[in-house]
Amino acid sequence: MKEIELKGLREVVYYDKVSSGMPVYVWKNDKVKGVFSALCVNYGSIHQEFKMNGKNKYYQVPSGIAHFIEHLNFYEPDGTTATDFYAKYGSEVNAFTTFDYTCYHLYSTVEFKANLNHLLDFVLTPSFNKKMVNKEKNIIIEELSMDEDIPETQLYFQHYANLFHKYKYKEPITGKKEDVQNTTLEDIELVYDTFYHPKNMFLIVTGNVNPYDVIKITEENLKKKKLSVYKNPKMKKYREEASVVNAISEISGNVENTKLKISVKTPLSNFKNIDPVDLRLITSLIMISNFGPTSDLKEYLMEKELMNYMSATRSFIEDFLVMTITVETKYPKEVIKELKEQFKKLEMSEENLKRKINASTAAIVLKYDDIMSVNNNMQEEVLTFGSIIENEKEHLENITLENINKVIKKIDSSNMAVTILNPKKN
């Protein structure tokens, strides 16, 4: 087992890969009582076309199938559900699906061994049949109707449709009603058999637990399983154009005030010589400095009463950096003009950088506190970088104004998409 020392944080993450190929990460905190375990599958809603076993044939499955499997996996072969099992221990079990992966998670305070063993058992023991597929369709359709009634969801997916020509991020994670209706038992079995294999999964455990126990339990559990030969699936890579689909698009929905999103889409190939960890930290600092609560722009928009709320995020979506501002406003035209101008003059002062680095360092220290949020952060790092970042604090402390300006120069601020969600006219 490897001990990954997180430099400058006085924290250690334990790592091992069990013989069946599953990477396991453990962060121990014996000051708390609980243990949070997350078993993740590298399969999410965007993975709709794939090939396997080194062959060239692509398989296509309906949108929303990752989420569908997440629902079905809770049914156990003996007619009970995973929830029934965990109720015996009072443990909290649940799951979620994102664009990129599916996560089954568990919060337990007693009988850790039995709890973890069952997590590995129910996720890796399929028991699907037509009856349960049909039953679950109704429940999932209610779930997606619920999501469709949330205006932010409507704006989010429309905005991605304006940004991406080919990427599947524009489709709801649940799929649309017709996708759910058209999903068959065969589709589900195909995806499950291809992706639900220890080599395509990872386990993260955080809390009051002995890391050696976690590895031992996982190793022994998986050794007992008759695992099929790994099919080594490869997702279809889409060649996404650098340009946005629509520079501006307007929709209407159940909102009282207009909400809008504006994003700048930049190919990652622009940042070839910049370390990926640095790039993430630097772009985050750029966004918060130019559009966050300490920015002149936000203060100006508030003072002029041009907006009610504004938030700034940046994401890395396959081959692109996407920097997004979300605003609630009654004056979309004026706000869009200001935001576009700010994107064209992104900046950072030496004083601001120093302060932001100090503040972000404190935030990194606090990342290792609550066992659930530590686990979520670790999931994100494993998904993004393939492992835990050992020296995030060092990376942050070494960022210079020169690095920041280098990144700013490479941001393609002319390549923008704006999506406006207006109130419905009565």
């Binding site: 609980g34 443990s91 305070t109 005030n257 508030m302």
Partner: protein, 423 residues
Amino acid sequence: MKYQKFEMDTYNIYTIKTNKFKNCHMEIIFYDNAKKEELGLRNFLVDMLCHSSKKYPKRKEVVIKLEELYQSYFYGVSSKVGNMVMSNFIYDFLNPEFVTDEKFLQNTLKFPFEIIENPNVVGNSFDERTFKIIQKRILADIDSLKENPTNYAFRRALINMDKDSITASSVLGTKEEVEAITPESLYTYYEKFYKNSLCNIYIIGDLDMEEVVKIISRNFHNNCLKNHRVEAFVENKTRKKELMVREPSSFLQSNLVLGFNLEKLTKSEMFTTLYFFDEVLCAGGLKSKIYNSLREENQLCYSVSSINSKYDNMYYVYVGLDKKNVPLAIKLIKKCVKDMASGKISDEEMNMAKRQLLTSLDIVRDNQNSLINNYTFHTIVGTPLFDELKECYKKITVKDLKNIGKKLRLNFIYELESSEEET
């Protein structure tokens, strides 16, 4: 964990010393009896005080100061708990152990009091610029209540139940009330709020609490004596026959709310048994009676929720579903409640609920905010501390739950009807 109370002349400081967390969490709570006509003012004031101050007149200056204090967070929340209104000024900061600056604790603890006690006031009036920003934001918040089907269905349901009850009032106030507030009237209210509200300070962290108390007492100048009684509970009217209301909406799903009066619950029933009852009936996830009936057996919905609004003496069940399934959902929910009142509760259901509640107690004991919340209501209303609660749950029987079931009386059934045509 070490719980301590420090009695100051005009307020108390409650501390929990624990080394479980790297973060420290403090809440300065002003509380009082809720007055319907003052709710909007009070919420406005809390927003106003947190936004800026005399020393930091712009929002960005407040945030810059918080960044200098190693990414501390400061914000305010107004809430209505039954008949009580609470204004919490919340401050999160890094444990000084991780900071080389020896004066960090002193400097960081000074900050929230500096903000609350020195607002940006000119003469007898809050500064116009910040006032306008906050007013506009609150008016937008009131508007956006309509955007969320759950929140809107609840608002409408409670107004239909009894528009004069404090339970039906929004903590934001109405648009008319917020529009009528002026920088002068807000300042007048600030003085009244500061003088009249009861005040407690709660703090959790790995800190020298004696030192913390000394620093707070140097920086907090709350010196008005108050000894009036705060009555947290609301007696909402009951009905002989339940009210049924259906209102149109443009949402895809229908949103159904059933409201039940809780009649004459004892304190012990309210603070312990009712949680157990709720766990078996609805809150216990997929294995609870209502969840199992609506989702697992009939596939009517994705999720169903309940709210144990004990201080309002109310209990609500809420579900979003297809319009055509509303009558069946009502029938099934009523049946589940009836089963509880007649004691149709299996040993398995009892054991499951008990285990889940005991685990939940272990989980919340690992969470700073939950620990502070539990200590707050323990000191203000007398709810049990988590450790006491554990013992109480172990003793609860089917008969206890049956008794609660008999004290639930259906008050209303409200449907915010979907705009979709029935299929």
